[in-house]
Amino acid sequence: MASLDRVKVLVLGDSGVGKSSLVHLICQNQVFGNPSWTVGCSVDVRVQDYKEGTPEEKTFYIELWDIGGSVGSASSIKSTRAVFYNSVNGIILVHDLTNKKSSQNLYRWSMEALNKDSSPTGVIVSNGDYDREQFVENAVPLLLIGTKFDQIPENKRGEVLTRTAFLSEDFNAEEINLDCTNPRYFAAGTSNAVKLSRFFDKVIEKRYFTRDSSQMTGFTDRKRFNFKSLHYD
């Protein structure tokens, strides 16, 4: 069991958007019957077959860390939450489709999570500012999930979907819109399930298979820098 490598994915979002239900649905393929407020962090595990169906198939554990709380919490809660943000390989951002503020808060959530990440570039972003460049060249893959899709009346669905399309562009991420009380959305073969699988595969790839190549590009960049500084000296 411990022989399989680990991949850590954070599930972030405002209080009450449905992260715990979502995680339960992804990992157990069952609907969560008794949602209550998450204190601290709850973890669940999904067994994922990387590159399913091909001869290179390998099984991985994906840990989904579901962290409770809101962006406006006291700083003591924030610094305690920061403990969970170490060595993250992927982030799932969850927002409530019936609540606009929750999608706006996603920017702050991602800032909070990524600034705690030990990024080699060391970008200093002031609190609350949103820097698009940081997302484009980001090493951590993001997935955007909108919940409570069933609670939106039919006529409003169009504008909601365009809004979320903008969001996913901002984050340079895929998006899925669903309803956590309905297991049908992640049934095998649906486009949602495919997107989810693809996201997990991307996370695994980033973690285990492209590390060598990115290290090499880092090297060449540094070489170029040194050359430039020599030149200006």
Binding site: M1, G40, V43, V45, E63, S75, S76, V83, T98
Partner: protein, 404 residues
């Protein structure tokens, strides 16, 4: 004015769908503030006497109307619409709840020496008296608690010594617990997956021996599973407790740092000052100078209002969710309205004699002495109980650390 405060402070993170709720809340707030302005005008003698009187009456009518009729109705409506069982007859049920509320409200007046035989049933005095009773109780409770909480929070004497290594140690324990939870869950997932696969194979297996083998293996598999699941549940509970403790320690550490800064020292001094005053208020009955007492009461009221708003905001963050946000706003509006009305009544207690005339005239004949006594009693009770409560909490926390 009230609108701005509302929009900016309380609802940074959530949407309130119902427009009406916002309007109700801001109206309540606006009128409460105008009441206070009127009192201040009283003291200063700014406007002419008759116009003041008129404004008083108007203000009182509106506030009472809102407090007693509108707000409870909406609260009932929203509470009922949150309970999913009774979706159909929302309106009917809300009316029923509202009538129950009015009934209890009426009954509340009976044990107290408030009714005076001269006035009819639906007069202003009756309504004010009832609102006053509830409001006074609430206010005494809150101020008793605040009087004790205030020195406790601000005085550095009570702050326990927290070092960085404590916090780091706790965080490490938290992460270790999370890792244990993760590894156990991995085992569960793997076992379940194997069972599932074996279940598929099982369908292919034929024969008597195959069936027996499959039965026994799944049996042990599921037993193992439930055992591990119990362990996981226990570990998750532990991780939650550790998380809360870490948050607590972080908060204490921040408070220590804050107390070292200049602002912290200033508040510290205020804390000492207020604690002395509150202790004095608990044990003494008569003030020795009317003017000083009035100023002090003014300060206390301002700080208590500020404290109330801050506490309510914190409380609001702690329990808010998108489902119940409407109810919470209405409850806040109700509490605030009652608080303000009763504080007006009580301020009369500490105002010098010449200003009391207009207030008495407007509010009619109410037994003010009764209110004073009632307030003191409740204040004493709540202060003592909160002292007890805080003492227990304070004692319990160092013990928890020892046990770790």
């Amino acid at each position: 004015f009230g609108w701005l405060f509302f929009m900016r402070q309380l609802f940074k993170d959530y949407e309130v769908r119902q427009y009406v709720v916002q309007v109700v809340f801001s109206v309540t707030f606006a009128f409460s503030c105008t009441m206070f302005e009127l009192i201040i005008f009283e003291i200063l003698g700014a406007l002419s006497s008759t116009s003041r009187y008129f404004h008083w009456k108007l203000n009182l009518y509106v506030i009472l109307l809102v407090l007693i009729f509108v707000v409870p109705f909406y609260i009932a409506y929203f509470v009922v619409s949150n309970i999913r069982l009774l979706q159909r007859q929302k309106l009917l049920f809300a009316c029923m709840v509202w009538f129950t509320f009015m009934y209890f409200f009426w009954k509340l007046g009976d044990p107290f020496p408030i009714l005076s035989p001269k006035h009819g049933i639906l007069s202003i005095e009756q309504l004010i008296s009832r609102v006053g009773v509830i409001g006074v109780t609430l206010m005494a409770l809150l101020s008793g608690f605040g009087a004790v909480n205030c020195p406790y929070t601000y005085m550095s004497y009570f702050l326990r010594n927290v070092t960085d290594s404590d916090i780091l140690a706790l965080e490490r324990r938290l992460l270790q617990t999370m890792d244990m939870i993760v590894s156990k869950k991995k085992r569960i997932a793997m076992t379940r997956r194997q069972m599932y696969q074996r279940g598929e194979d099982q369908n292919k297996q034929t024969g008597f021996w195959g069936m027996i083998k499959s039965v026994t293996s799944t049996q042990t598999g599921s037993e193992n599973l439930s055992l591990i699941q119990q362990e996981v549940d226990a570990l998750e509970e532990l991780s939650r407790q550790l998380f809360l403790e870490t948050v607590d320690l972080q908060a204490t550490k921040e408070r220590i740092e804050y107390s070292k800064t200049f602002q912290g020292k200033y508040f510290n001094f205020l804390g000492y000052f207020f604690s002395i005053y509150c202790v004095w208020k608990i044990f003494m009955v008569k003030f020795w100078s009317q003017h000083i007492s009035f100023i002090l009461v003014g300060i206390i009221i301002v700080t208590s209002i500020r404290g109330l708003l801050i506490t309510l905001t914190k409380f609001f963050y702690a329990i808010s969710s998108s489902k119940s946000s409407n109810v919470i706003v209405l409850v806040l509006a109700q509490i605030m309205g009652m608080y303000f009305v009763s504080s007006v009544l009580l301020m009369r207690m500490s105002m010098p004699l010449e200003y009391r005339s207009i207030v008495t005239e407007v509010l009619g004949e109410l037994q003010f002495n009764f209110y004073h006594r009632w307030f003191d009693v409740i204040f004493l009770v709540s202060a003592l109980s909160s002292i007890l409560f805080l003492y227990l909490a304070h004692k319990q926390a160092p013990e928890k650390h020892m046990a770790l």
